[in-house]
Amino acid sequence: MTNFYTLTRTELVEAAKEFKFIWLTLFFVILGITQPLITKYMDVILENVGGADGITIDPNRPVPSSAEVLLSTISGQFNQIGLIILIISFMGLIAADRNSGMQDFVLTRPVSLRSYLLSKLMGNWVISMFSISIGAAVSYGYTIFLFGSFSFSNFLLFVLLYSLWILFIVSLAILISTFVKSPILIAVTTIAVSIFFILVKGFNHLLFQLSPGGILNLAENQLLSVHDLNYFSIATCLAFILLNLSWANRNLKKS
């Protein structure tokens, strides 16, 4: 397991040298701040920005609860534009290694393919979760400041479950980069597949609930305090991650 540790550390050091920790965190913080602010101050913004004459906002509109605002931040911002930028940021995770010949260099050492893939998964997951959790925490702070309190333990549980979804996305990117060579195509395919899973999770059918998107449903229900939760989707999500990794392992072994 020392190989795994070394490779993961290399991954993290490389990310730190590219300022990835800083700008990805800043990006998610900006995303997280903007959504509660826009929800709260929509009428002020519309009044002050030109070109909005004739638009009125119902003064008696219901004030959204903090849970709804958090949900719209996560599923509206983090899960769309945030996901796209996240995938673009790690689209080269295996392709760059292969194109520069670094993969051959690593794999001719006594390093197993499994620890190589696991280190890729772990390294990129740690980077993404570092940025996302800071962004989500700042968003949480703004939300409770502007919209009233919300249980912190539920929020923590939500971030934990959301991290499993990110783990799935990283493993998906690894799997797809064993099929496709060009980094841009990898990013486009991964974005398309993950958005497909996000869309499909809305259907209320057992088959769709067992798809990897089900973990997102479970995470979002933590915010809405729905009882009667289906914790089985944690297991299916982990199973899908393992499936992705072993498939990628087999593909790389063949080539």
Partner: protein
Amino acid sequence: MNTDITALLEIEWAEILPFALPVVVFNFLIIGIALYDWFKRRNLIAAPYVWLAAIILLQLLGPILYLVIGRRLIQNDYSRETS
């Protein structure tokens, strides 16, 4: 893009500033990081001045695209021709 700058003068800044300030500061911070990296590598990367315009003009997206894609596109990249 809204180019009517006079609208900026009519905003009640005192009302908005405490909340808008973090967003503005973080935006400038991310532009600053991208500009610092651009300045170090400007003789190395392909089409540096196009990337400078992208960093400064495209809000939030420009710096990120530069940091992800732009800094890897290097002039005279021979490794691409062989592959």
